[in-house]
Each structure stands twice: as structure tokens, then as C-alpha cells.
Amino acid sequence: MADAMRIRANIVGDKVEVRVLMSHEMETGQRRDARGDIVPAHFIQNVTVTHAGKTVLSAQWGPAISKNPFVHFRFKGGKPGEKLTISWVDNQGDKRTDEATISGG
């Protein structure tokens, strides 16, 4: 199973600043291994961030997102102590969902 994401969600002003790191190879399908064989493409395709039952960000990615992806965005309406849920699914069907608690400013 994939490693847990590292999520930081902090209140800054009236917004929640979200920074997330995901553990993923993001293989392009063009790299060759030491034996010269093509390493099959393996990359996150869909990312969804929800807060209080509402999607606050959704993304579709190709293999050109860097290994161990990083995303930073911000949204309105979150309060300290509330939960934020982030999910990803990759092209091989692997997936991961993690939760974080919004911390005060």
C-alpha cells in the first residue's frame, strides 16, 4: 500500500492554506530500468480534496507531474479542528485516502 500523504492545513486570515506531499513514483512509461526494459507508466490520475462534504479541489494529472507530488492551494470556509480529506487514484488502480485536521492561524 502506498505511504500516507503529508498534509498541512492551516488557517491564514479567512482561508485554509493546504500543502500536501504524496508518495508516488509518477513513472512516465518512458524510463528504462538497469536491464534496459521500459518501466510501465504508473502515475496519479485523479486527486480530490473534500471538506465538510464539499469538494474544494479536484485535479486530473498526467505523468508529467513530478515524483512525490506537491500541491498548494487555498479555500474559504474551513475552521480549526475540522477535517479535510484527500484522495488519489492512479492509472493502475492503486489509491490512497488521508485525513488531516485544520489547525489555527
Binding site: R6, R19, F70
Partner: protein, 259 residues
Amino acid sequence: MALAIALPCLARAQQDTQKEIERYRELLQDGNPSELFEARGAEHWKTKRGPKNASLERCDLGLSAGVVKGAYVQLPRYFADTDKVQDLESRLVSCMVALQGLSSEEAKRRPYSGPGQPSVMTDLVAWIASESRGMRIAPPQSHPKERLAYRAGEKIFYYRAGPHDFACATCHGEDNKRIRLQDLPNLTNARDAQRAFGTWPAYRVSQGEVRSMQWRLYDCFRQQRFPELEFTSDAAIALISFLAKQGEGGTFEAPAIKR
């Protein structure tokens, strides 16, 4: 006359390149994937493993059994139980052998991570190093073997050999030099050495992996056209002893994020 005009322009172009590279480095600081490695390392420390089904929680990294906070910045150091000067990785190997019952070969099987192949050793190093963030680099030099390791490391630093005549000092012995666009720390100058020692281990974006000081030396010697530096070998520990002492007094800021 044409030259007189051209030269300031060239100088400006070079400054702009440097400035943009600096900006690139700053923009990376916002999120360091080393955190992902550190989180795994903290788990490995507590995980029972090996024939003795034991964790590393009683491993003595120099400050007494189980103390991780601040251990990295006081390594390498002399350990009486092994009668050797050890850096973090060689000490972890000793602990894996003594506490977990692994053979030394098993403990050293995957010293460095690769694509899709995490390394327990690298993860542990990332976490243990992170537990010294913000502290002063202070390797002990009270034991004669610690002093000898430093002096031998210095000799290795200046040792030229191989088809390219390279020594560590070829690239790291003068101020304000760079290779391609990468600044080269002058490891004979305290300020550069403090910064260099204080930013390894590091997440290398070019490789997508955390790399340790052992790896740094292994790969420097590869590019020096030397044969392969063996993981946790005496020469590696001596060189790390030299570098740690050169960096003494600097603030430890690793694992960092680098090109």
C-alpha cells in the same frame, strides 16, 4: 570598444542566471518530500525486525541508548563497544546486528533507495537527521581515534588518483567555484563547510530520493573516477569525520532539498 560594452552585458547575463537559479531553489523550499522518508524512518525505528524480533529503540547513537534527538550532530564519534569511530549509518548497522540479530551483510543490503525500492537505512537516516534540525554541528574530538579519523579524512580529501587526477579538493578546495551552475562548497572554509555538512542528507529532486552523506561520498568518488566506495567503510567514516569537524558550529538544517 565593442568588448568594453559586451563585458558588462555578459556579467549581467551571468548574474541573472545565478539569480534565477537562486529563485528556483527558494521555490522548492515550500515542500520537501524528505518528510515522506522521515515518516517511514520513524516507523522503522519502532518496528521489530530480525531473528531477535527487536526494534532499534534501544540503539545507542552516542548520547545513550534510545536517544535520537541531537544524535546526528554529534556524529561521527568513538564507540567503546565496537572500539571504532562510527558515523550514523555504520552505527545503525552495529545496532541492527547487536539488537536485531541481522548479519552485517543483511543490515547493509540496501543502503540507498531507488525508484520503487525504498531503503530502510535511508529512511532511518532521514528521520534521525531530522531530529537534529536547528542544532549546532558538534562532533566530538576527545578520543584519539576521533582525532586520527579526522586527520586521515583530511589526507583522503587531498588524495589525487585515477585517470582524471581528481581529489575531493579538486572541486571543493577553493571559494566561489561552481560546476555547471551548481555552487561548490569550499570544504576547507568553515562557512561553506558548515552549510554543506548542515544540508546533508538531502532530498535530491534530480533523483527523487533522499540521499545520505554516505551516498554523497559514494557518488563523488564515482565521478572522481575512483573504484566504488564501500558503504560504511573506514575511509568513508574518516572523510565524514573530517567534514563534520570542518562544519563544526554550523546549524544543522537537514534533510534539505537540493537539485
